[in-house]
């Protein structure tokens, strides 16, 4: 470790590849994830879930379960007070708690297979499982609807009798499964399409895919007799968990302390609550700690995948390749409750391009599936898959190189985005150039091999963020952040702190604080944790430097403006006599008590100015014409990071996003039977890419600094999943001449398409 750091100038860690501070614990098995926490006297909680996709719950009889020796508590809908239908800010997020309480525990109806109906806590997992079998639930089974288009039909089974489409005038007088219509417009598309020489119009269909984190949801709750509680859980945002749970259980926020465990993957799926309120409710009843862990089947059936969707795209261009008008209509599945990511889907659809006339309409549609949760750039991969496929087709029609066509229409600084703002400096053109310059772009291809390129956009967000820096007696620094570290955050923040304070990286020890230790901090999501966290650390460091300068001025009997902080030391500005020896942080630490007490800084900000990150991906693949099997041969991902604090973890984001996108494009999907039940709720038949499915994934870290961040940083975590879907589809077209518009492009679909065209021969 020290060897690696020695290579670098101690005054500048940002941009280097340090070893993560939490690394050793993670390679030795010591790191504690959600299911690794235990308490004396703890009970095991299990959930009874609806076997029906849609059913009215007539009655729930838990008496036999409660009578089973070893069962200490049973909770049902009766243990959770109803919530009014109002959208309440939970952190920066708005949620309708009426839906949240119903998703956590079914009330009037079970709305999807796996919807929680009751939960038990017992002295052993075996007893808890037996108790579930003793709970008698009377259902009135109702007709169900799974498909988004069917759910939109007037005659479709209605999930919520009180759901009226928002965003349409006049307000509809009849309830439906369409929760919301959204729209953005820029210019006049009719005029724009009139100017077009070529117009491509197509419909696309995607299936819901799961975030696929390897660590199942887990929670350990302990409620004491005075109603105060502690909760350990695996989450992307323990302050959000606290907000939701306090609300659902009617607790004072200060009485609930939530500690985020190490998190075994989230990708957006661990931004909501499932087990946490149940564990708290069970513990409150049993007055004993309750531990709950989902099985993999429960994760697939009951935690949020992202939307499947149907997307229409219409794009017009002049002969010389200038886009004149763009239209899209997006129909996104929300699952059992409203709130699909259709709005960001609408806003991102054409964001990579500078187009005068744009109109995008979106529909948020409920159906009898688990409520969708965020998944990496929520909504964007779906709409941009459709748009980037059509851009590719347009390039072929116009006989223009697909990178050149994108370049010609690329958004850049000053471009007015269809969703409102003017872009600052962004890296669309830079990533296109980076890809075009690769040897990969011009490498030869054989028969049945194809090459595809596609770009992607994601906004990124900032938001409320706290971080503290405490100077310890020996001059070392303790760093506390409030966003769970999913992929190297602690390393990035420690590097920034070390650079700000001019001390060695390994003298900074970062941890993730619990909800009692820092002010409200929004979750790890929206590609915000490194962006916002580093801004908060810079603010905290500034406070320390100011404080040290003030103390030095007093010690030296000089004016504060006579001293300055530089490279880890406080110096007297014009110290000709050299009688004031520069003081290090360690010097101050030793005499902290004598000079006014402990030294520390506390950054509390609402980070603004998150810069969008654009990326362009390039993929080669080969199709087996006789079986429809697709092999990914080569992959290059270029993306604008603004400034890469830790290049390895930035590259890791590009590679991980690409792999997830490849899975989404080729094999991953939720498969439902006619009975409305999920048929592939496990890693065996929900086919995420394995090591032998992928090649090395080359990365190009483009750096177009974000002027609103002290180090120029942009979030990078989400954009990488946006380009792969279309890149793979475009490569499929190049390999077979067939434009695939439905995901996943699984072997049966591919072989069918080849057969229909008589191409299924070597």
């Amino acid at each position: 470790m020290s060897a690696m750091i020695a290579e670098h100038d101690l005054s500048g860690y940002v941009g280097t590849r340090t070893i993560r501070p939490d690394g050793v614990d993670k390679v030795t098995g010591r790191a504690r994830f959600g299911a690794d926490f235990n308490l004396p006297g703890q009970l095991i909680g299990r959930v009874l879930r609806s076997p029906h996709p849609h059913a009215r719950i007539i009655s729930i009889d838990t008496s036999q379960a409660e009578a089973l020796p070893g069962v200490k508590a049973v909770v049902t809908r009766d243990d959770f007070g109803d919530q009014p239908s109002e959208f309440i800010p939970a952190g920066e997020m708005m949620m309708n708690y009426r839906d949240v309480v119903r998703n956590v525990m079914a009330r009037e109806k079970a709305l999807y297979e796996g919807h929680p109906v009751a939960a038990v806590a017992a002295t052993s997992a075996a007893i808890a499982r037996r108790a579930l079998k003793l709970i008698e639930v009377q259902y009135e089974v109702l007709p169900h609807v799974i498909d988004v288009v069917e759910a939109m039909r007037p005659e479709a089974p209605l999930l919520h009798e009180d759901l009226y489409t928002a965003g349409v005038e006049p307000k509809p007088d009849k309830a439906s499964n369409i929760a919301k219509r959204v729209e953005i417009t820029l210019g006049d598309i009719d005029a724009g399409f009139k100017k077009a020489d070529v117009i491509v119009e197509r419909e696309f269909k995607t299936q819901p895919v799961h975030q696929g984190y390897i660590e199942p949801h887990a929670a350990l709750a302990s409620v004491s007799e005075d109603g105060s509680a502690e909760l350990w859980c695996t989450t992307q945002g323990h302050f959000i968990v606290r907000a939701h749970c306090a609300r659902l259980l009617g607790m004072d926020i200060a009485r609930l302390r939530v500690t985020a465990s190490e998190i075994g993957g989230g990708f957006g799926g661990k931004t909501v609550v499932y087990l946490e309120p149940l564990a708290l409710a069970l513990s409150r009843k049993a007055k004993r700690p309750v531990k709950m862990v989902m099985t993999r089947e429960e994760v697939f059936k009951s935690s949020g995948p992202t939307s499947g969707a149907v997307v229409q795209v219409k794009l017009g261009a002049t002969k010389d390749g200038r886009f004149t008008a763009a239209f899209a209509e997006l129909k996104y599945q929300a699952g059992a409750f409203q709130g699909s990511p259709v709005q960001p889907g609408v806003m991102c659809a054409y964001a990579p391009y500078d187009i005068e006339n744009v109109k995008v309409i979106g529909y948020d549609v409920v159906s009898n599936r688990p409520k969708v949760a965020a998944y990496r750039a929520p909504g964007a991969p779906i709409s941009e898959f459709a748009v980037e496929s059509v851009v590719d087709e347009l390039a072929k029609k116009l006989n223009i190189d697909p990178i050149d066509l994108r370049m010609q229409n690329a958004a850049h600084e000053g471009t007015k985005a269809a969703y409102g703002p003017k872009f600052g400096p962004i890296g669309m053109e830079e990533t296109l150039n980076a890809i075009k310059k690769t040897e990969h772009w011009n490498a030869p291809l054989r028969k049945w091999q194809g090459r595809g390129v596609a770009s992607g956009f994601w906004f990124n967000i900032g938001g409320e963020t706290c971080a503290s820096l405490t100077v310890n007696e020996d001059g070392t620094v303790s760093l506390m952040a409030g966003t769970p570290d999913i992929g190297g955050l602690r390393a990035s923040l420690a590097m920034v702190a070390a650079d700000e304070l001019g001390i060695p990286y390994d003298k900074v020890r970062p941890i993730i604080g619990d909800t009692g230790s820092l002010g409200f901090t929004f979750l790890t999501g929206g590609s915000r944790s490194a962006f916002s966290g580093s801004m908060a650390v810079v603010e905290a460091a500034k406070q320390i430097k100011t404080e040290l300068c003030a103390r030095a001025a007093k010690l030296w009997d000089t004016k504060p403006d006579q001293v300055e902080f530089e490279a880890g030391h406080v110096r007297h500005k014009d110290d000709a006599a050299a009688k004031f020896k520069p003081m290090s942080i360690a010097d101050f630490a030793k005499m902290a008590g004598k000079t006014g007490g402990p030294i520390g800084g506390y950054g509390r900000i609402n980070a603004q100015g998150a810069g969008p990150s654009l990326g362009t991906h390039l993929v080669d693949l080969e199709v087996d014409p006789e079986t429809g099997r697709v092999t990914i041969l080569r992959y290059t991902a270029a993306q604008d990071a603004g400034r890469a604090i830790h290049p390895s973890y930035v590259e890791g984001q590009y590679q991980g996003g690409a792999a997830q996108g490849i899975g989404w494009a080729l094999n991953e999907e939720y498969v439902y039977g006619a009975d409305g039940k999920l048929q592939n709720a496990g890693f065996l038949d929900y086919r995420m890419p394995v090591a032998s499915d992928l090649p090395m994934i080359d990365t190009i870290v483009v750096e177009v600094p974000n002027p609103r961040h002290p180090y120029g940083v942009r979030g990078v975590g989400e954009t990488p999943i946006v380009p792969p879907l279309a890149a793979v589809a475009n490569a499929m077209e190049s390999a077979t001449g067939i434009r695939f518009t439905e995901l996943p492009m699984s072997p049966p679909k591919v072989l069918k398409a080849l057969k229909e065209r008589g191409l299924n021969k070597v």
């Binding site: 098995g29 975030q211 660590e215 190490e262 075994g264 993957g265 993999r296 065996l684 090591a691 992928l694």
Partner: protein
Amino acid sequence: MAKHHITATVNGDDVEFLCETEETLLDVLRDTLHLTGSKEGCGSGDCGACSVTLDGRLVCSCLVLGCEIGGRRIETIESMAKGDTLHPLQQKFLEHAALQCGICTPGFLVASKALLERKAAPTETEVRYWLAGNLCRCTGYDKIVSAVLDAAAEMRKG
């Protein structure tokens, strides 16, 4: 039915425990012996996060019954570092940033160690196929495969 009384060797230590027939080796490791480095990602042998070696043979501990291991030798992630010294694989995983969230890391390390004990100089393809039973959702496998190849090279240098 009385519990089974089992004695076995785990990470070089003699251990003695009681377990029900349906308890898996993974349950025993995590809940009875408190060795939580082996993770449960699926419970069906599809993710490899619970990988351990049983008499030197790589297995998913979620697919072995606790009552099957009487008199056998089990090695888990907890025994991979020796004293203060990380195994070369552990060191290379850190240097290559071969982990993001880290939940799959113990399984990958145990599986990779088993590979390098059988094959000192595996090709990239051999590494990828050997590790196909270990799911990682974060990294796209790139840095994991690089770390294993690099560790192999270093171990060959001795």
